[in-house]
């Protein structure tokens, strides 16, 4: 379809930051949960760092989102409304004063942010208590880990789905943004844990090399989804949409895209990892690769949002 005259929400940097931190939080939480499920004892340090990071990264989320609202004091309206569900959209659900609109990723995301924040808080709390010698709460920990993991994936992916549900030319026929953002979340989440572990030291070389492996897998997926995004958008055959894509690939945003997101964030870390960091994860190299992955993960989301929001004359 040929897009007509459109407007942009002009979401500022705060939103890019939230999407980025949410991805780290979700990714770190999922990785910590998988590790602890497979061998809680062996991956103790990794799990601790993962859950703490998830909490730290998600804490600013609600604040960033609220500050960006036109009327911040109305942030609760995201969850509560006084209208019959039939009047506010497809498959809207009312429970008491609350509402959920499953086809509005922003509505679903607000709820997911609540649930995930609670899980991140509880997981970090349990980790803290266990470190202080309290007994392990096996089942509770398991439930929080799994529920939080599911919502962690959600928090990482939903911003991509949210962008995909706008009329912006770059997004209206894109289908891979949710998957892409999820992969970026996993890569940056894994890299963030690895960065912290490699900086604090300790007997972590096994954990580091495994983290590099997850991160490498996530980076490969990221590369694939990014390519699918670009190819599927360019295949729509609409001039307006192709122009929006050109803005990203050859226009004023292209340098961030190619140099920042692709070369620094994907190609170099992948080459380093395949070239040996996975096998022999020295703290120095791990820290370097992790930092690159984090920077690249931020840039790939940032540049896509910026290019998508730009109104071309």
């Amino acid at each position: 379809m040929e897009p007509g005259l459109l407007k942009s929400a002009d979401w500022p940097f705060l939103i890019d930051l939230y999407f980025f931190l949410g991805g780290i939080a979700g990714g770190a939480f999922v990785i910590a949960t998988v590790a602890t499920l497979l061998d809680a004892q062996r991956y103790r340090d990794l799990t601790r760092v993962g859950y703490y990071l998830a909490l730290l990264a998600i804490l600013p989320g609600p604040i960033l989102l609220t500050v960006d609202l036109g009327i911040p004091s109305r942030f609760l309206h995201m969850l509560m409304v006084s209208k019959p569900t039939t009047a506010i959209g497809m498959h809207a659900i009312n429970i008491g004063p609350f509402h959920l609109k499953p086809f509005s990723p922003m509505s679903a995301g607000a709820w997911a942010l609540m649930v995930f924040s609670a899980c991140a808080f509880l997981a970090a709390l349990l980790t803290f208590l266990e470190d202080r010698g309290n007994p392990r709460l096996g089942t509770t920990r398991l439930v929080i880990g799994i529920v939080g993991g599911v919502f962690g994936f959600f928090i990482a992916a939903y911003p991509g789905v949210l962008l995909g549900a706008t009329a912006r030319p770059l997004f209206i026929s894109a289908h891979w943004l949710g998957a892409l953002f999820l992969a970026v979340g996993a890569a940056t989440g894994g890299a963030a844990i690895a960065l912290v572990l490699s900086l604090v030291g300790g007997q972590t070389s096994d954990s580091l090399s495994r983290l590099m492996k997850v991160t490498a897998i996530a980076l490969v997926l990221e590369l694939v989804f990014l390519a699918l995004f670009v190819v599927s958008v360019s295949a729509t055959g609409s001039r307006g949409i192709r122009e929006a894509l050109a803005q990203l690939l050859v226009g004023s945003d292209a340098i961030f895209f190619w140099v920042g997101a692709v070369v620094v964030g994907l190609v170099i870390p992948l080459l380093l990892q395949v070239g040996g960091v996975i096998r022999k994860a020295t703290p120095g190299m791990t820290a370097l690769v992790s930092a690159l992955v984090i920077v690249g993960g931020f840039l790939v989301k940032y540049v896509i949002i910026v290019a998508g929001q730009r109104v071309l004359s």
Partner: protein, 257 residues
């Protein structure tokens, strides 16, 4: 639900007087704005938070030096499947019993998602109130049997307001008449309820293809992407999860401390 109300804008009757634009500003008490020089009589490139009605002007060249002057009074389409409404996380955007789409200013919290979700670029964000705004079909007037201010003011009946079924019949007849008179490109936009976004409750008779007027040829409900995108994300989650399991499982293998 009461019978659906609609607006039919026939651009073949528009004389570009902009009485509608002025009437809209006055009735809705929309504050003055800096004029924008667009190179034509059109003031404002696009809808703003203080201009819900906008008369657009276009010059079309036939390539041999002859110009056709097009004018069209544009407005929120009150889509049967509205991207703005589906996007709104607060439920501020709602459908009235007449089938129109409104933004409740007491509920909107200014997240601006609707602004980017409208396939026609209608909704605008008002910095002063911190909320999103757009045409309501003069909600206060239509609930008192008055009809929107723009339609009332239009001296040529280019803008007509009434029950959707009656207006659609008039529109179809008018397009047939025009075709018979030799206006080959005359066409209806948004009248077909089985068409894109379930039809528009503000539909148009255009004298050329929609893109000439800045309208999308085939508007799409952005939320149509949500299901597919979510399924692909779930697939990606499974792959990442599997990858993590593989990475953390092989015990005591290479690289163990």
């Amino acid at each position: 639900m009461a019978r659906t109300l609609a607006m039919f804008t026939d651009v073949s009757l528009c004389i570009g007087c902009r009485a509608c634009q002025v009437a809209c500003k006055q009735w809705n008490q929309l504050a003055p704005e800096e004029p924008e020089w667009t190179g034509t009589y059109q003031n404002h490139h696009h809808f703003t938070d203080k201009s819900y009605r906008l008369v657009r002007f276009f010059e079309q060249s036939d390539g041999q030096g002859a110009l056709t002057w097009h004018m069209m009074s544009d407005v929120c389409k009150h889509c049967a499947q509205a991207g703005c409404l589906e996007a709104c996380p607060t439920g501020a955007i709602y459908r009235t019993e007449y089938g129109t789409v409104n933004i409740n200013q007491d509920i909107c919290n200014g997240c601006r998602y609707c602004v980017s979700a409208c396939p026609f670029g209608v909704v605008a964000y008002n910095e002063d109130t911190g909320t999103a705004t757009k045409c309501t079909f003069c909600n206060d007037r239509i609930h008192n049997g008055l009809g929107p201010a723009c339609a009332k003011a239009c001296p040529t009946q280019s803008i007509r307001f009434g029950f959707r079924d009656e207006l659609a019949a008039q529109a179809r007849k008018r397009v047939d008449d025009l075709k018979r008179m030799g206006v080959k490109e005359a066409q209806l936009y948004g009248e077909d309820q089985s068409g894109p976004v379930g039809g528009l409750n503000a539909f148009f008779l255009l004298l050329d293809k929609p893109s000439l007027y800045g309208l999308p040829e085939n508007p799409k409900l952005p939320q149509g992407n949500v299901l597919v995108d979510s399924l692909l994300s779930i697939g990606a989650a499974l792959m990442v999860g599997l990858g993590a399991v593989v990475a953390f499982r092989d015990r005591g293998g290479k690289g163990s401390a």
